[in-house]
């Protein structure tokens, strides 16, 4: 079943066109890897899909489970199951990590007409999820991402994903800056959630993650468009030859 259908998407940031006719279809159950040179527009795609202000869509459509995703506020998209693991998670001093996550989960549940979790129920859920994604208790009690190391921030993103159980998870370079154990944990976090009802868009620069989370498709995003798509072997090819040939192919 088609979950996400992006057609001819054009988007501008600060008056500059970054996405230039991007099309992509993602079905439930699939894992798509998106690779591409720096500045190609990968994070922009994640931001546009999750509804960040300042990203102006000038052309094209995005349908998510049959609804026009672009008309929804960011929180409505979250409640509908869209999750973005940030390339650069934001530090929010003074806002407790656990408090925030429970408030977020309950806000989503409220929209979906589900019962809100009290602190005991939430604690139980957190313990369960900690089995998948190891992060220390101490981090949970700190302010959101405040003073977290780069790797801890990335792990926290995956931990949040595990708790929020989205349908469509967009992971923006969650593998960057991780040590090998953390990378395996992140991969395990994704694999645990993998299901016929969920889909993943994994933005990455490295083939290595794809050894642990085997994608169904690999796409190359260059200059605001998907210029080539293939299976896992495309990632291996890119690892060897870089983007030079791909760019040429797209221009032709």
């Amino acid at each position: 079943m088609t979950m996400l259908k992006i057609e001819n998407l054009h988007a501008r940031v600060e008056g500059r066109e970054i996405l230039k006719g991007l099309s992509l279809t993602v079905n439930a159950g699939e894992v798509h890897a998106i690779m591409g040179p720096n500045g190609a527009g990968k994070s922009t795609l994640g931001n546009v899909l999750s509804g960040r202000d300042g990203y102006e869509v000038t052309e094209g459509t995005v349908s998510y489970n049959g609804v026009d995703l672009l008309t929804l506020a960011p929180e409505a998209r979250a409640a509908a199951g869209v999750f973005l693991a940030f390339q650069y998670p934001v530090e929010i001093p003074g806002v407790n990590n656990t408090y925030f996550l429970r408030a977020a989960l309950n806000a989503q549940r409220k929209v979906r007409g589900e019962k809100e979790l009290d602190s005991m129920q939430f604690l139980k859920l957190v313990r369960e999820k900690l089995k998948v994604m190891q992060i220390s208790d101490e981090l949970l009690h700190r302010a959101v991402n405040e003073g977290f190391s780069g790797g801890e921030k990335k792990r926290n993103e995956i931990f949040q994903m595990a708790v929020l159980e989205p349908q469509l998870a967009i992971l923006d370079e969650t593998d960057s800056g991780l040590d090998i154990d953390a990378l395996k944990q992140v991969a395990q976090g994704v694999n645990t959630l993998r299901s016929p009802h969920r889909a993943f868009l994994m933005i990455t620069h490295y083939q290595r993650l794809l050894d642990y989370v085997v994608p169904d498709f690999v796409h190359v995003l260059a200059d605001g468009r998907i210029v080539e798509s293939g299976d896992k072997s495309l990632a291996l090819k890119l690892e060897e030859h870089g983007y030079a040939d791909i760019g040429a192919g797209a221009a032709a």
Binding site: S50, R52, A73, E75, V90, I92, A103, A107, V111
Partner: protein, 435 residues
């Protein structure tokens, strides 16, 4: 200057002139200050310290004097309760001492806590220095009004070396009566050498209490004494509250202050501190949160006048609706105050397009080897943080409330009294427009 003698405000104060106190120097001081106000009137916005706070409208108002009925206005004692604050308590209703609401039994040895009106009946000479002050600046109009008109207030003294564990509470209630009242309170507080005290000053108001209240507070912190001072200003929405505190810190004295400005209509707070003894330390944290059409003006003036003195001040403002905030922080490191360390920060948030905050840090250094830092900003909530919270499902209003609360609550982080800190946090949250 406006034509003072014709100001309705002045006329109403004149009518309210106090009867003779029977103390010649006090009557003279009152008379002098009334005269000074008659001549000087209210400062206009050309006076630097009043640049952003216009007093024209206030000068046109008339306020009634506090009569027996006004003094007897009922106040629910439950409203005075503050978590973590269970020591002695002195309460004034519309500026008049309320024995009924106060809690003065159990006074520890070495402490004097009594209403000024009583203290004057005793050893009035001890108050002469404080109550005979002349106010010379053009901006001092309200201090003059206060000196001319205050009939009561707090006298609090802690003897040398005495440590008071339980926080002392000073409460000023503006209770609604049939008329628009003016009332005034004069506080004289002294911690002798090595004394320790935690003090909570609270301003409350009944709805519909349209008033003018002035408060002048002198605080003398002698060598090695330590004072924790929390100020919770939650006056009625119709209350014009003009407050001045002057602190003097002697050698090695330490003062930690936390200020929360929530209520009132026109609120002005002049906080003046002089670090006159070597190694004196002042730590201030404050939040002002004007909403609706409130106007809150905080003027912080810190003078380092001795060696190795430290002041560290961080204030935050949050203005919503059509409210206005003003912050001026002036630090002077006087000649000879070598080795001093002064820092002052003021960050502000505007939650609506019609809200306004004007902030101005000023730093003047005339000494050597001084460490000084200051900065001020006015802005909106961080867009990245907002998006992060929303991307996890938090609705916009809730995300804004959470970030704003965190912004303000940081000012309470180092308030030592935990139950009080929690309580103030809650008040702060309740004040947020989107909460």
């Amino acid at each position: 200057m406006s034509q003072p003698a014709r100001l309705p405000l002045f006329e109403s104060l004149l009518e309210a002139s106090l009867p003779s106190s029977g103390i010649a120097w006090l009557d003279a001081a009152r008379q002098e200050n009334l005269q000074a106000f008659a001549e000087g009137g209210l400062p206009d916005t050309r006076v630097e310290a009043w640049k952003y706070t216009a007093l024209r409208a206030l000068g046109q108002r008339r306020f009634a004097t506090v009569d027996t009925a006004a003094a007897a206005a009922t106040v629910d004692p439950a409203r005075l309760a503050l978590p973590g604050v269970d020591g002695m308590r002195l309460v004034f209703v519309n500026g008049v001492f309320s024995a009924e609401l106060s809690r003065l039994d159990d006074m520890p040895a070495g402490v004097t806590l009594q209403p000024l009106s009583q203290a004057l009946r005793g050893d009035s000479e001890a108050l002469r220095f404080s109550l005979s002050r002349h106010y010379r600046e053009p901006g001092d109009a309200f201090a003059r009004i206060n000196a001319a008109s205050a009939r009561d207030g707090v006298v609090l003294r802690v003897a040398a070396g005495v440590r008071i564990a339980r926080p002392v509470q000073l409460v000023f209630v503006g209770a609604a009566t049939g008329s628009e009242l003016a009332w005034h309170a004069r506080n004289v507080i002294e911690l002798a050498e090595g004394a320790e005290l935690s003090l909570v000053e609270q301003h409350l108001g009944g709805d519909e209490a349209n008033q003018l209240a002035t408060l002048v507070c002198d605080v003398e912190v002698r060598a090695g004494a330590r004072l924790q001072l929390a100020l919770l200003q939650n006056a009625a929405s119709g209350c014009n509250l003009i407050r001045r505190s002057s602190l003097r810190l002697h050698a090695g004295a330490e003062v930690g202050m936390h200020v929360l400005e929530l209520g009132g209509a026109l609120v002005r707070h002049d906080l003046q501190a002089e670090l006159i003894g070597d190694a004196a330390r002042l730590h201030t944290r404050g939040v002002f949160m004007p909403h609706g059409r409130q106007h809150m003006d905080t003027q912080l003036a810190i003078r380092h006048q001795a060696l190795n003195t430290t002041s560290n001040s961080t204030w935050r403002g949050v203005a919503s609706d059509r409210a206005r905030g003003v912050f001026r922080g002036a630090i002077v490191v006087a000649p000879g105050a070598d080795g001093s360390d002064a820092s002052l920060g003021n960050k502000n948030l505007l939650l609506s397009a019609s809200a306004e905050i004007d902030t101005k840090p000023e730093l003047e250094i005339y000494a050597d080897e001084v460490k000084a830092a200051h900065g001020a900003t006015v802005g909106q909530l961080d867009e990245r943080s907002l998006f992060y919270l929303r991307s996890r499902g938090m609705v916009l209003a809730e995300a804004r409330a959470l970030l704003t609360a965190a912004f303000c609550r940081a000012m309470l982080d180092d308030l030592p009294n935990e139950p009080l800190r929690e309580h103030l946090s809650t008040l702060l949250l309740d004040q947020l427009p989107m909460a």
